[in-house]
């Protein structure tokens, strides 16, 4: 943050676009600005209203060279935009250098990406030293597939304004009070609902994480309450709706799978070099997704459940079984597609639809049939 931590005292802010660059159609500029503001509103309680006349908290303009703020632009390249910290008059205002070539693509200078950075200043964030953060000062080639906020940005902005009050928002979609056409988010299921199902379940540093759509619940076995979080608030680059997850406690790593890709996370950081394709683990090419995964710490093996079969990966030798085997053959009493699985205190827990099976691998049998919400205080 800036020295003295200037920030807006209100949660509904106004913005006005004073003029438009000829590089883009006005509708494209409007869309880029709106999208850039929504990046920040998705992780905070802030909301933004567009004004077409009069004063606004964030005044946006395209200007070249000297433009009456004693910080002239320098022609093409170099300094491409700047913005002021929250405050009166030009506080919060954002200026974009008209000498740049503004685009909505990955060529030239992407307006959305630069505007998202500048609005970080408008809201009270200073430059970050983290090269992965949006608030890092050097412009990088815009990657439209990546949510622009890094954990460092989210920590910074939530330090000033707190987290989003909208628990149905995963940080990747818009929170727009004027947009009445926005599709409604699906209702988040009640943890005590008999219909509760999970996308994935894993142990995580002594807790259990239950993934569902854009969210996950954190539950410590010894604590009565479960904490609901957005996946994006922990790992902004992870997609919602993960397929499978498991922890490798000895390495303090948790592996998260979605489609034909996987990520390794340590705490709230995604390790560099991910996502990688699941084929690198040794799956045949016809495997396009994993239903569930479980790390058997006793044997150092990871079980990948796909349909009614499972593959076994030996962590020590880093080899995958040549062929999958039927789940029912290795885990008598468990049959069918497994949604999620995890190990807890030497027992395996399998989630199949609205049922949960506790399986003792030593006795080779199901020891309890549980409801899916067994772990929650219902």
């Amino acid at each position: 943050t800036f020295a003295g931590e200037p920030k807006w005292a209100k949660q509904v802010l106004t913005y006005r676009i004073l003029n438009y660059t000829p590089d883009l159609r006005p509708t494209d500029v409007n869309a880029a600005i709106k999208k850039a503001l929504n990046v920040w509103s998705s992780v905070t309680p802030l909301k933004f209203i567009k004004k077409d006349s009069g004063d606004a908290d964030i005044m946006i303009s395209f200007v070249a060279r000297g433009h009456n703020d004693f910080i002239p632009f320098d022609g093409p390249g170099g300094s491409i935009a700047h913005a002021y910290a929250p405050g009166k008059d030009f506080g919060g205002d954002a200026h974009f250098d008209e000498d740049e070539t503004w685009t909505k693509s990955t060529e030239g200078t992407n307006l959305f990406y630069v505007a998202a950075h500048e609005f970080g200043h408008s809201l009270g964030l200073f430059h970050s030293k983290d090269p992965n953060a949006l608030m890092y000062p050097v412009y990088r080639k815009f990657d439209p597939s990546v949510f622009p906020l890094h954990q460092d940005d989210i920590n910074g902005i939530q330090h000033l304004y707190g987290p989003s009050s909208n628990t149905h928002n995963n940080g990747r979609e818009t929170t727009e009070i004027k947009d009445t056409t926005e599709a409604k988010e699906p209702e988040l299921p009640n943890t005590c609902s008999p219909d509760l199902t999970f996308d994935a379940v894993t142990s995580f540093r002594g807790e259990i994480m239950f993934f569902k759509d854009k969210h996950f619940w954190r539950k410590h076995p010894a604590v009565g309450t479960a904490e609901l979080n957005l996946i994006a608030s922990f790992w902004p680059r992870l997609p919602p709706g993960v397929d499978a997850a498991h922890e490798i406690p000895k390495e303090d790593e948790t592996v998260i799978y979605k489609g034909n890709e996987f990520w390794i996370v340590r705490g709230d950081a995604i390790l560099p070099g991910y996502p990688q394709k699941i084929y690198t683990l040794g799956f045949s090419k016809d495997v396009t997704k994993i239903d569930a995964a479980l790390y058997n710490g006793n044997e150092g093996k990871i079980y990948y459940f796909i349909g009614d079969k499972f593959w076994s990966y030996d962590k020590r030798s880093q080899t995958m079984d040549r062929k999958p085997v039927f789940v029912r053959d290795a885990f008598p009493g468990i049959n069918g597609k497994i949604d999620a699985a995890f190990q807890h205190e030497n027992l395996f827990y399998f989630f199949l639809g609205r049922k949960q099976f506790e399986f003792d691998p030593d006795k080779k049998r199901v020891t309890r049939l549980l409801k899916t919400n067994f772990w929650f205080p219902c």
């Binding site: 003295g4 300094s79 740049e100 090269p131 000062p137 412009y139």
Partner: protein
């Protein structure tokens, strides 16, 4: 071609000096920068290299020179806030 080489180096010095003025609060004292004896400029280059996670040499190496030519936000990295 020593004169061309010298000219290139002078351009690099000017580029970095301007960058440090704009983004690192470096204030020149009116005198032209004499590279080897300018400890304040060296200090500022080190600050900049440290901020960007470059190797902190205090020297105008190629990595530093490349970085100052990139497009960036016009707000300073080391600011005298007001």
């Amino acid at each position: 071609f020593p004169s061309v080489k010298r000219q290139k180096k002078e351009e690099g010095v000017q580029l970095i000096q301007k960058y440090l003025e704009n983004y690192y609060g470096f204030k020149k004292d009116g005198e032209p920068v004499i590279w080897k004896s300018n400890s304040l400029m060296t200090k500022k280059i080190k600050e900049m290299q440290e901020f960007f996670g470059l190797e902190v040499t205090g020297k105008m190496d190629s990595g530093t020179l490349q970085l100052v030519q990139k497009r960036r936000c016009g707000f300073p990295d080391i600011a005298g806030f007001s």
